[in-house]
């Protein structure tokens, strides 16, 4: 394993891939890691006016606050006021508490009851909501491709799949995302508590319906099964008792967490062999006292950042140190990315990229931008992973699950679409989009060329001192983390030799990105 490959490995795993200049810097992986950690100290919230859905027609339809089904009552308000001088850029907020970091306005109207809307209103609402989600989606993708805070964005992406949540309100989804972004490298306990109090999560897991007289166990169950300890470490009885502790946790019409005391069951509970009049915070604390929780999180991170197959010899020391540190996530990632085994061949170029990692990686490595970002969402849907739309609370299964006959063919065609104006042709499924299930056939069909710009000069500079006959090999070492098959190298070199001089580099890059090898990182 060359130092360059190790360095690239770090950039792929701790971020969204290397740029040519990252490699040209010639940093040691150790120094690069320190740089990544430093660059990720800054917290920049995801936000833009386009991400805020504005109800367009409330002026002529009266709705009483709090009306509607649980799905539509949630009324978190915009994170930034969008009037006046445009977006107010939030400063670093590490010192602020999670709840106050993202400002909420107070004048955002609640979504209308869908039953009371005309078809036209319904369509306008769907369009408005969809536009907000598109802006959040592509805004984040661009952030993945360009932000210096690579590690923070990658961690945010990890938690996005871990605390998987899918709601109709864009403002609630954005707020959750920024809470995660803010605490992604802090203490896991803070993150867990903040996420548990997010209106989006409380809505998604039905805790708004969790009342003393009629407990709803959904939230309590998933907190333990998917967010902290994992199955087999608690009983059905523990789920019931924890659910009682979370009664009364909800959100108000302004999209703020509220503790509804009259709906809370403050009686004695026995949870994980301890008895007391526990509330929700105390239940989370007890969960964090279980070393199993540290192990569960460390294992999940290992599978995401290192290898799909967990290796207990690697994970145990990580989990123990993580637990000792009081669940400090920076400690955990630093230890993981500086371990010797992290750079061993078994862990390099052996993980199938998720669709987001594939797309963001191409964008970042090639400095690629789309003239119109909308197709980025289409690619995500066709490949099977759309930001803000996890399949369920368990998140994306990952690994080989990404690959089937059609998704693999789309992956292999994608570079030609992005770099050589090939046409992308796909009709998306209707039910992939819960936000607007009645999207017309036309809207679901994408059949066009995609206009892009790329920055190939840095790659060109990288090859400046390499003889033309060696360029394909040299380039493959930068683009691919898995060793290229000799037949493929010959194929690409041959294609390059016959390409006209001005298109030579682009031809080589496109071919390399179209290889099965490129699906791995």
């Amino acid at each position: 394993m060359t130092t360059q490959q190790q360095l690239q490995h770090l950039y792929w795993r701790a971020g969204f891939g290397p740029r040519p200049e990252d490699v040209a810097n010639g940093l040691s992986p150790r120094k690069a890691l320190r740089q990544l950690l430093r660059d990720s100290e800054k917290i920049e919230l995801l936000d833009s006016p386009e991400m805020h859905y504005q109800e367009a027609f409330t002026s002529f339809v009266a709705v009483s606050p709090g009306a509607g089904t649980p799905q539509t009552t949630m009324t978190t308000t915009p994170d930034q006021t969008t009037t006046g001088a445009g977006i107010k850029q939030p400063g670093p907020v590490a010192s602020l508490s999670a709840r106050s970091a993202v400002r909420r306005g107070i004048n955002q109207p609640p979504l209308l009851r869908r039953e009371n809307m005309t078809a036209q209103q319904r369509k306008m609402q769907n369009d408005g909501i969809r536009q907000s989600f598109y802006a959040m989606n592509t805004g984040w993708m661009n952030r993945m491709a360009t932000s210096p805070a690579q590690l923070r964005e990658k961690m945010t992406f990890f938690w996005h799949g871990h605390f998987a949540c899918r709601v109709r309100r864009p403002d609630a989804a954005l707020h959750l995302n920024n809470t995660i972004r803010q605490l992604a490298l802090g203490k896991f306990g803070d993150l867990l508590l903040a996420v548990s109090k997010e209106p989006a999560m409380l809505q998604f897991l039905n805790n708004q319906q969790n009342r003393k007289q009629r407990p709803n166990e959904n939230f309590a169950r998933e907190v333990m099964e998917l967010f902290t300890m994992g199955r087999g470490n608690y009983t059905e009885k523990d789920v019931k008792e924890a659910a009682r502790a979370f009664t009364g946790w909800g959100y108000n019409a302004r999209g703020e967490f509220v503790f509804r005391e009259n709906q809370h069951d403050d009686g004695p509970k026995t949870f994980l062999n301890r008895t007391g009049n526990f509330n929700g915070e105390q239940v989370l604390s007890i969960i964090l006292e279980q070393p199993r929780t540290a192990e569960f999180i460390a294992t999940k991170m290992y599978r995401f950042f290192v290898n799909d197959t967990p290796n207990s010899a690697h994970i145990q020391p990580l989990a123990q140190a993580f637990f000792k540190s009081g669940y400090d996530l920076s400690v955990l990632v630093e230890q993981m990315f500086s371990a010797g085994w992290f750079y061993e061949a078994a862990n390099v170029g052996t993980r199938i990229k998720s669709p987001i990692e594939l797309l963001a990686g191409i964008k970042r490595t090639m400095g690629l931008q789309l003239v119109n970002d909308r197709p980025l969402v289409v690619f995500q849907k066709a490949l099977g992973q759309t930001l803000f739309e996890p399949p369920n609370v368990a998140g994306w299964p990952g690994g080989r699950n990404w690959i089937d006959s059609s998704s693999l063919l789309y992956r292999l065609q994608l570079p030609s679409v992005l770099l050589r104006n090939a046409e992308f042709n796909v009709a998306l499924k209707e039910d992939e989009n819960d936000i607007a299930p009645q999207v017309s056939k036309l809207d679901r069909t994408f059949r066009q060329q995609v206009k892009t710009t790329v920055k190939l000069a840095p790659v060109q500079a990288m090859l400046a001192n390499t003889a033309p006959t060696q360029q394909a090999a040299k380039l493959s070492e930068f683009v691919l983390q898995a060793p290229i098959r000799p037949d493929n190298l010959a194929l690409i070199q041959k294609a390059a030799d016959t390409a006209p001089a001005e298109g030579r580099l682009r031809a080589m890059i496109t071919s390399l990105l179209s290889l099965p090898e490129y699906q791995l990182m």
Binding site: E115, A119, E389, N392, I403, Q413
Partner: protein, 391 residues
């Protein structure tokens, strides 16, 4: 009805292995199940109605006062052409051709099929139907995918499970094997004929363990499947008139593949647009017409080639809609719904409408169909143990 998540999975997994059939029989009218089991299904065609089809206006209880009380304008009156079936139920007036098939004994209706603790979200409900999970459980494989995972020799190529669409549904993804999605064989073949892809896909996987080998293996299988499907589909060109809709075209493609002799056990086709919150009558009527005409042409096509008798069609939607109409002449998300079964081997005059007193467990329906899909070849009856994740 399953009592716990564990029991639920035990039931569905074991049931589909045919070893514990009696375990779930109680959940479904046993006589009805026997009729289905005798129906000689060799292949299963699943038709998904996306958006939550309103079952009450599909199979109309046209002599029920409560129905008309809840739906003063949306209820379909007898005089507007309800196609009377049996037990005071009738098909929506747009389903005349399906009614013909019903009269010939080819259609069965299961009423009130749902899953316990229903969720009214489209995507979550579809996730549950497709994965076959309990409503509080998350499974990343689909029920048909798990069928493909089973050890039967007939499930080893991707096209043993075919979805006529551009992308593959969760239902068709197993842990080890996944179905194949294609809109039409020619177009799919064309993509794999791209010079670069063709060259790369010719490379053999060197082993069978690494992720890279897995990618090459998938690519090679895709390529050879595309080739096979393209060549085979030329054998039979349909002369039956189908509705000129996307759904009609997809059913035609399905029939052509079946009649060409392609060895596919499970097909998956979707018809979308059933989320009728507003002005339901017109929209649902058009869609049900499309469904009825499409399925009738499909049946006719298969009959011509002698393939109808061993085909079973299952029509489902992620949920039904509420009984009471809303203020916009539509209906909102509900729970249980009817499931239609269509097959050539249902004997005449034995067409069944099952009206269980309690809600039919939808797992029983699934299990039934897995029996059909798995009933031949014989090796499947013992070897088909769908591999699922551990629960």
């Amino acid at each position: 009805m399953p009592t716990s998540r564990r029991d639920f999975l035990k039931t569905s997994v074991l049931a589909s292995s045919l070893l514990f059939v009696p375990k779930f029989l109680h959940a479904l009218d046993s006589q009805g199940l026997q009729k289905l089991a005798d129906a000689n299904g060799r292949r299963l065609v699943v038709v998904q109605l996306g958006g939550g089809n309103d079952g009450l206006n599909t199979i109309v209880p046209y002599r029920n006062d409560l129905y008309y009380k809840a739906r003063p304008t949306l209820g379909i009156r007898e005089q507007s052409g309800v196609l009377a079936l049996d037990k005071d139920l009738g098909f929506n007036p747009n389903m005349a051709r399906l009614k013909d098939l019903y009269d010939q004994g080819y259609v069965a209706v299961l009423n009130s099929v749902g899953y316990p603790n229903p969720d009214r979200s489209h995507f979550r409900s579809m996730d549950i139907w497709q994965s076959g999970s309990a409503s509080d459980q998350y499974v990343s494989t689909g029920w048909l995918g798990r069928y493909l995972d089973s050890n039967c020799p007939a499930c080893q190529v991707p096209y043993n499970g075919l979805e006529v669409d551009d992308t593959l549904s969760l239902a068709m993804k197993g842990e080890l094997r996944k179905g194949l999605a294609l809109k039409n064989p020619e177009k799919f073949h064309q993509i794999t004929q791209n010079q670069f892809i063709a060259q790369v896909s010719g490379e053999k996987p060197t082993g069978a363990v690494s992720e890279l080998d897995y990618l090459y293996k998938t690519l090679a299988e895709t390529s050879s499947s595309a080739d096979y499907l393209y060549q085979t589909s030329k054998v039979y060109k349909s002369s039956v008139a189908y509705p000129t809709t996307e759904f009609g075209r997809n059913l035609k493609t399905t029939a052509e593949l079946i009649n060409s002799g392609i060895d596919t056990r499970v097909f998956y086709v979707s018809l979308t647009g059933f989320d009728t919150h507003v002005r339901q009558q017109e929209q649902q009527g058009r869609l049900l017409g499309d469904l009825s005409n499409g399925l009738a042409s499909f049946a006719e096509d298969l009959q011509k080639a002698g393939n109808f008798n061993d085909t079973l069609v299952l029509v489902f939607s992620e949920f039904g809609r509420r009984v009471t109409q809303n203020a916009s002449n539509g209906t909102d998300h509900g729970t249980a719904n009817n499931v239609l079964l269509l097959g050539g081997a249902f004997s005449k005059k034995e067409s069944l409408i099952m009206l269980p007193t309690s809600k039919t467990s939808w797992t029983a329906t699934y299990a039934t169909n897995l029996i059909f899909a798995a009933s031949t070849p014989p090796s499947c009856t013992t070897g088909c143990k769908p591999t699922t994740r551990q629960f």
